[in-house]
């Protein structure tokens, strides 16, 4: 008998103070999970082949049929899908169902040219809510909690995704959306909000705003935060946790996979559990495009197993991370992905050296005097790439002599050099002069001629 797509949810305690939402799935023994994945993968492949001309052509060219898949090793023979493929089939060419079966369409924030569209049939929306309910429950939310959803509502999948998942869990959602910090802080306290969802940079901004208004972490009733949609480091986690008095959990998703809910952290905070009953995860070498062994960092690749409206085969996310298969202390059997260290397309090449903005952030966040707002400016002087890291001078750094500031600059430069192996110029700025983010933070400004 076929396993039901998504069994009814109910909160039951996991082993680390959080909750499962669909315990039987989240703790499914690995062999059974593997069987379920292969069975679903075959069904998805035939759905895609029958209904998406792009995939029929791709699979035929690769000589692959659903029956070619006998085990996980065979997945490496399937063709990849890229963002360019999605752009080329804008707006609805990648959909596997007639337009009138869609109940919702989201679109990603396309920075250049066409955005990428994401379609959902009713079953996709329904399933998505369960994946978010798992995410929220893992952080200890249950019915009775209130989630302040400060993700933007609209075409972006974050707002509505978290919203529906919170309602599915049976908890209360406060659909405040992003911005208006004073109202965020007021309602949080007036309503006794217990959880928040927003980008990590906005969480930092809120923490700073609370401090400026004389609020201590204890004055804020929230106890857990769900933060995703941009890369962040563990050091940034510690700052958010201290500033807001919460457990700050990383959540991961991308609109192409349907939005948030692809993977989520439990309270162990040791990697994000991939919802492997719905997504097949791989790590491939960025040059070889061949699957990499456990623990090695490479490009993250997902295959949807259950999405009806828009099945995607081996979608290359451009995010770089590694996968951990060893069992987690929380009791979940789903593999974990590490925090992405960067994106293969936001890697900066400075004088021939690969530099990820996350490496710079990591160094800055280990220096207690550095305020959490910074900007990386890359420019070219003559033929030489120059990197400046702008940081704000808080009163912890500042004394009465220039020597103190100069020593501080040099110390930060040396720390950055030891990690990056390139010379970086630290530029000290006055407080609050580096742009704050109320959405996705702009950390890198690359002024080099393209």
């Amino acid at each position: 008998m076929r396993a039901p797509l998504s069994p009814p949810g109910k909160v039951t305690p996991d082993r680390k103070g959080g909750f499962y939402w669909q315990e039987s799935r989240e703790t499914l023994p690995t062999p059974e999970l593997g069987k379920l994945q292969i069975e679903r993968l075959r069904a998805m492949l035939s759905h895609a082949r029958d209904n998406v001309p792009f995939y029929r052509k791709k699979l035929d060219e690769a000589g692959m049929t659903p029956e070619s898949i006998g085990c996980h090793g065979d997945v490496a023979d399937l063709p990849f899908t890229t963002k360019i493929d999605l752009r080329d089939h804008y707006p609805f060419g990648m959909f596997a169902v007639p337009r009138d079966e869609l109940v919702r369409v989201h679109a990603s924030s396309g920075t250049t040219g066409n955005p990428t569209t994401v379609g959902y049939v009713a079953a996709d929306v329904d399933l998505w809510a369960d994946l978010i309910a798992r995410t929220l429950a893992a952080g200890g939310m249950q019915p009775g909690d209130m989630l302040q959803n400060a993700y933007g509502y609209g075409l972006f999948t974050g707002g509505l995704g978290l919203h529906n998942g919170c309602e599915r869990l049976g908890a209360t959602v406060l659909p405040i959306s992003g911005g208006n910090t004073d109202r965020q802080l007021k309602l949080m306290r007036d309503f006794g909000v217990t959880a928040i969802s927003c980008t990590p940079s906005y969480a930092l901004y809120l923490a700073e705003a609370a401090r400026d208004r004389g609020l201590r972490p204890d004055d804020l009733p929230i106890r857990v935060g769900y933060h995703g949609a941009e890369p962040w480091t563990n050091e940034m986690r510690l700052q958010i946790e201290a500033g807001l008095g919460i457990d700050a959990l990383d959540i991961y998703g991308l609109s192409e996979m349907g939005g948030p809910g692809v993977s989520f952290e439990c309270l162990c905070k040791a990697g994000m559990h991939v919802n492997e009953d719905h997504y097949l995860v791989e790590i491939i070498g960025t040059e070889t495009l061949q699957p990499l062994p456990e623990g090695e960092i490479g490009e993250l690749v997902f295959t949807t197993l259950t999405r009806r409206a828009q099945p995607l085969i081996r979608y290359r996310t451009r995010d770089l991370c590694s996968i951990i298969y060893e069992p987690c202390e929380c009791g979940r059997t789903f593999a974990r992905m590490t925090k992405p260290v960067g994106r293969s397309d936001d890697m900066l090449i400075i004088r021939g050296v690969n530099v990820f903005p996350s490496q710079i952030e990591e160094v800055l966040m280990t220096i207690p005097e550095v305020e959490p707002h910074y900007q990386i400016v890359v420019d070219r002087k003559g033929h030489l790439d120059m990197v400046e890291v702008w940081i704000e001078v808080g009163e912890d750094i500042f004394g009465e002599t220039m020597g103190q500031l100069e020593r501080f600059e040099r110390a930060v430069q040396q720390r950055l050099y030891s990690v990056l192996n390139i010379q970086v110029k630290v530029k000290l700025k006055e407080p609050k002069t580096i742009a704050r983010s109320e959405g996705k933070a702009v950390r890198v400004v690359d002024k080099r001629p393209k």
Partner: protein, 137 residues
């Protein structure tokens, strides 16, 4: 027997120094003495004012990074060798001086890129000193 000095961090942007002077002026803080020190990208301004804590609060409230510290203020005898006597005293005892500046607020020396132009701009509004005037001080 020390004096409280207010120090302010400033990026080298034109008009920033004027903002500090304006801000303190509007708040009724009379600047009794000051000095600036600059690096390529930023500088620090040191101020001697009657109510240093209040001045700091005002600056801090406007987002400036500030610092309070204690300095020695000396009434130097107004005669050749007056300054030398004070410095010798400290040097003999092995006290090194990090920096020093004059806080009598009558005459101020400005360094600007285009001296001629600045002098032209100011000459009808304030009294400008010449080398000869300095001999008369």
């Amino acid at each position: 027997m020390s004096v409280t000095q207010v120090t302010v961090f400033l990026e080298n942007r034109s008009g920033r120094l004027a903002e500090i002077a304006d801000l303190l002026g509007r708040s009724g803080v009379n600047i009794r003495g000051f000095s600036t020190t600059e690096a390529a990208e930023y500088g620090i301004v040191r101020l001697i004012v009657p109510e240093p804590e209040r001045a700091r609060e005002i600056l801090h409230g406007e987002g400036f990074t500030t610092h309070l510290s204690q300095v020695i203020c000396v009434a130097v005898p107004d005669a050749p060798g007056g300054l030398a006597r004070v410095l010798d005293e400290l040097a003999e005892q092995g006290v090194s001086v990090d920096y020093l500046y004059s806080i009598s607020f009558q005459n101020i020396c400005f360094a600007v890129h285009d001296v001629e132009r600045a002098a032209e701009l100011l000459k009808d509004k304030v009294t400008l000193l010449t080398d000869d005037d300095v001999k008369q001080l």
